[in-house]
Symmetry: C2
Subunit: 328 residues, 2 copies
Amino acid sequence: MKALVDLGERALIERIRARAGDVAPAWVALGIGDDAAALEPPRGAYDVLTTDSLIEGVHFRRDWSSCRDVGHKALAVNLSDLAAMGARPRGVLLSLALPTTLTVEDFDQLIDGFVTLAAEHRVPLIGGNLTRSTGPIMISVVAVGEAQRRRLLTRAGARPGDLLFVTGTLGGAAAGLAILEAGRKRDDLDAEAAACVARYEAPEPRLRCGTIVARSRAATACIDLSDGLAAGARQLAEASRTGVVLKASEIPIQPGATLDRALAGGEDYELLFAVSPRQQRRFLGTLRVMKSLPITLIGQLTNARDFCIEHDGRREPLPDGFSHFTEQ
Amino acid sequence: MKALVDLGERALIERIRARAGDVAPAWVALGIGDDAAALEPPRGAYDVLTTDSLIEGVHFRRDWSSCRDVGHKALAVNLSDLAAMGARPRGVLLSLALPTTLTVEDFDQLIDGFVTLAAEHRVPLIGGNLTRSTGPIMISVVAVGEAQRRRLLTRAGARPGDLLFVTGTLGGAAAGLAILEAGRKRDDLDAEAAACVARYEAPEPRLRCGTIVARSRAATACIDLSDGLAAGARQLAEASRTGVVLKASEIPIQPGATLDRALAGGEDYELLFAVSPRQQRRFLGTLRVMKSLPITLIGQLTNARDFCIEHDGRREPLPDGFSHFTEQ
């Protein structure tokens, strides 16, 4: 089996270029291969920019996940950030630090996972870089998008009284991670458990949902749930200078997951929207086109600057979400 | 001494924000703190985007370089890519993967090195991300710039007969690295050796030079010398579908370095320009404002598609430059 060291940097870049294909929308003036990429800027819109990394041993393990899933996820988490801004993706850059012992097969799988998701969302790979790693695999992705000026969805636009809606179901990714951590064999998993593992390994960025809501201007704020619902709700409320109260009984928990995992687990990459009560009907109306994606009312922003969850009428403080650099 | 694990992710992001200061040019619509950053796009110009990473043990060692120098260099190599396109920087994103045992002092130094160079070039830090690393420090930077449409400097615009000019002196960074590898103490270095080490540790991106040349349209192509002169000249010629011949005797070698290091050493981050002979006077004229930066004619692009260097009238093939994933 060939390893990266047998091929050399240039051959690997050529492999990426070949796999990425010829997706070059009109706005790509200069793609892979020069010192930098060049794009025609969006008209009447903002450039939206985000970057996020996956580190082996922190965000994934190779004995749990295929390189294909890792490549998919590295892009998905970045596209999810664009979705949370209501931005449409225009290009992505891929930075890889790889051990020289990685097999070429694993390399190809990683690239395939990445470019398959990119092609699904018609976003061109316009650049990046490739280097050796002395330790874990590290994947850094940059996603560039556009959002109309008055339609940019930040975390900060919400007001007390706004309703909180969440897409999809929560807790699945954390439940999936727990299944992998427990060392359960994939072949022994029932459908519910397999679906949770899939949520952890191959999250789907809610790009369409984000852009539909942004275009309609029916939401006042949005965040993607990378660190769990509790952290997301808290961050949205903090940025908007409000408090928040969630209703435990309303939270859409993925079959096989628990409320705790929905709140503190993270990595579901669903979107949390704040919506003015007057816009609620319009908000739900515009999302009716997304037939398969449930949208659930789970709470409200408040004047009181505290962060609560209501269980059977009793209010408790919201738990914290995931934080790097904190002993868990 | 406090380590990162004692502070937590949010406190660290606040430290970065405090150190980055309030540099927010008018085009920054949304900076650090949301799911993504938003910029007003440049008018009548391209968005120029590049990303490059430094990995501990591959690009730097902590027992050789201070965290301050590492932070500086991580940004410098990205700004150098913008310089090579003739682009003006508009914003940067900083992605850090850090061992939890890193001291807060080292963290602060790294950020200081980064933001000091950013402030020097008036480029705002608009986002990024922070994660734990299970191994080496990894720093990924994204630099966003703008370049006027007809003034973008690619590698591909040169023609046979164009002259090759290089900025500054070459080989210094490789000589500096060799000094560090030999374990020589800093206090024992003479001025020449110390200058070489400084070239390796704290390269200066040639942004001003790149934008002046781009604005004048006096050059047909440009590349920055990250992998050595030989690799740079070869890549520029390949992209422009020409050959190249360099004159060994003309190459400006940094005192303390050698021709070999200038050709194959890399990390000098000087700029290599191709200039039509008819534009030579104008090219040198526009650069006269950069008084302290030497500009040297070192060779020419050719019709013959080979890559040569002339020593005392004898032509030899150009050596290869540095490549990751190739046994050196």
